[in-house]
């Protein structure tokens, strides 16, 4: 059998986590209570913060839903009418972007020779022509090159602009030729 223990010094009951006797027990019980309070406060704060973030995001979602993207695009479209000068500028940029580089380079490649070196190619698409600067071992080679370019079916005609065979001005003995190549439509 088990005979119960009767301690009259503990008659007042358990006032704090079972700590009824001794300063150490009470201190431990208070520390445990404080720790529980800190944990509870931390969890409560996290819950409040999460709810606040959720509200902010829900608000953002509602704003996006109220002002949809297609309506914004339509408003932009209607708001900017182009005048004549702007339209021409836009068209110029578009034409510049639409330069037929493969065709152009194909023509020049067909007319290429070891005696001729191309120095620059300047497309002027508004006028439908390309200005070419070339340097050759001789003037004959340069002229032959221009003639071959002109024979290409993609070229309407060529327009010789300048022959530079003055060696003193450039410090080079090789002559240079500049011509405009008008592309066939």
């Amino acid at each position: 059998m088990t005979v119960p223990v009767f301690d009259f010094a503990r008659r007042h009951g358990h006032w704090l986590l079972g700590a009824t006797g001794g300063r150490r027990r009470r201190t431990l019980a208070l520390l445990a209570l404080l720790a529980a309070g800190v944990v509870l406060a931390s969890v409560t704060w996290q819950v409040i913060e999460l709810r606040r973030q959720l509200q902010v995001r829900q608000q953002a979602v509602r704003q996006v839903a109220v002002a949809p993207v297609p309506a914004q695009a339509a408003r932009l479209h209607a708001a900017v009418p182009l005048n004549e000068a702007e339209r021409m500028r836009v068209n110029r940029v578009i034409r510049q972007l639409n330069t037929p580089w493969p065709l152009l380079l194909g023509v020049l490649e067909q007319a290429a020779s070891p005696q001729v070196a191309l120095l620059s190619i300047e497309p002027n698409i508004e006028r439908g022509m390309v200005r070419v600067h070339a340097e050759g071992s001789s003037l004959d080679a340069l002229l032959l090159h221009a003639e071959q370019v002109q024979r290409s079916p993609q070229v309407a005609h060529t327009l010789l602009l300048k022959i530079d065979h003055e060696t003193s001005a450039r410090g080079s003995a090789a002559p240079r030729l500049s011509y405009d190549m008008v592309l066939a439509r």
């Binding site: 059998m1 088990t2 005979v3 119960p4 223990v5 009767f6 301690d7 009259f8 010094a9 008659r11 006797g21 001794g22 300063r23």
Partner: protein, 251 residues
């Protein structure tokens, strides 16, 4: 003594003596003086200044701490009612008002149970002294501690009895709990043998009153302390707070 375990200082107290282990009686009262916070404090402060560490285990002798078995009435509505009933019974058996007794018991609703009552003034005085000196306190009935020593761990039903310097104690168990408990003042503190003879006579008489079967065995009260002539109840109680190794004194 382990540095990690609090040292327990045993104290014994009866109506006139307050004693501690390894010291002369801390205080001897002259009747009709009684134990109050001031009286206890005056006795304990100088003794505790020499120690200052550990806790107190106070064993209250049967002349101050009372015992009986209570028969629970039918129709009780709460444990609080039962508690009030035991306080009324303590006042009826031992005098004073119900509020003057603190009662602890092996509470039962359908069978008799053992009750221990201690004067409220004595409990308060000890609690206030312990609080003032910042020491942890156990306040126990010496007789109930002796009963635990005699019966704890035993499964047999039967009787156990012993005498203290002032009281003859008889307890009956059914192997699970104490079902009957009787304490009689014998007034034979100067003659231990006479006290034991009185105990046997009391036991015989009480068994007749309870109509107990003759074959019910006696349980030896193995480890209870001896007492000698003119020894106070407080000294006998104090020995129960010491570590074991005291002689047997079964009746």
């Amino acid at each position: 003594m382990s540095r990690w375990r609090r040292e327990v200082h045993a104290l014994g107290i009866d109506a006139t003596h307050l004693v501690a282990v390894g010291a002369a009686p801390l205080l001897v009262l002259e009747p009709p003086q009684t134990w109050t916070t001031e009286v206890l404090g005056q006795a304990l402060r100088p003794w505790w200044q020499q120690r200052g560490r550990g806790s107190w285990r106070v064993l209250v002798a049967p002349d101050l701490c009372k015992h009986w078995t209570q028969h629970p009435p039918a129709g009780l509505r709460s444990l609080d009612e039962l508690r009030q009933l035991t306080q009324l019974q303590a006042a009826r058996l031992f005098g004073a008002q119900p509020a003057d007794w603190q009662v602890q018991a092996d509470w039962q609703l359908d069978q008799p149970f053992a009750c221990v009552a201690m004067p409220t003034a004595l409990v308060s005085a000890w609690l206030e002294c312990a609080h003032e000196l910042k020491v942890s306190l156990q306040l126990e009935s010496a007789l109930w501690v002796a009963l635990r020593l005699a019966l704890d761990g035993r499964r047999a039903a039967g009787w156990t009895c012993w005498s203290t310097p002032g009281t003859n104690v008889m307890a009956r168990t059914d192997g699970r709990r104490v079902t009957a408990l009787r304490c009689l003042r014998h007034g034979l503190g100067s003659d231990p043998d006479a006290a034991r003879q009185r105990l046997l006579a009391d036991l015989k008489q009480w068994r007749l009153v309870l109509s107990a079967p003759a074959a019910e065995p006696a349980i030896p009260a193995g480890q209870l302390p001896h007492w000698s002539a003119h020894e106070s109840e407080a000294h006998w109680a104090l020995q129960l707070g010491r570590p074991p190794a005291v002689g047997a004194a079964s009746a």
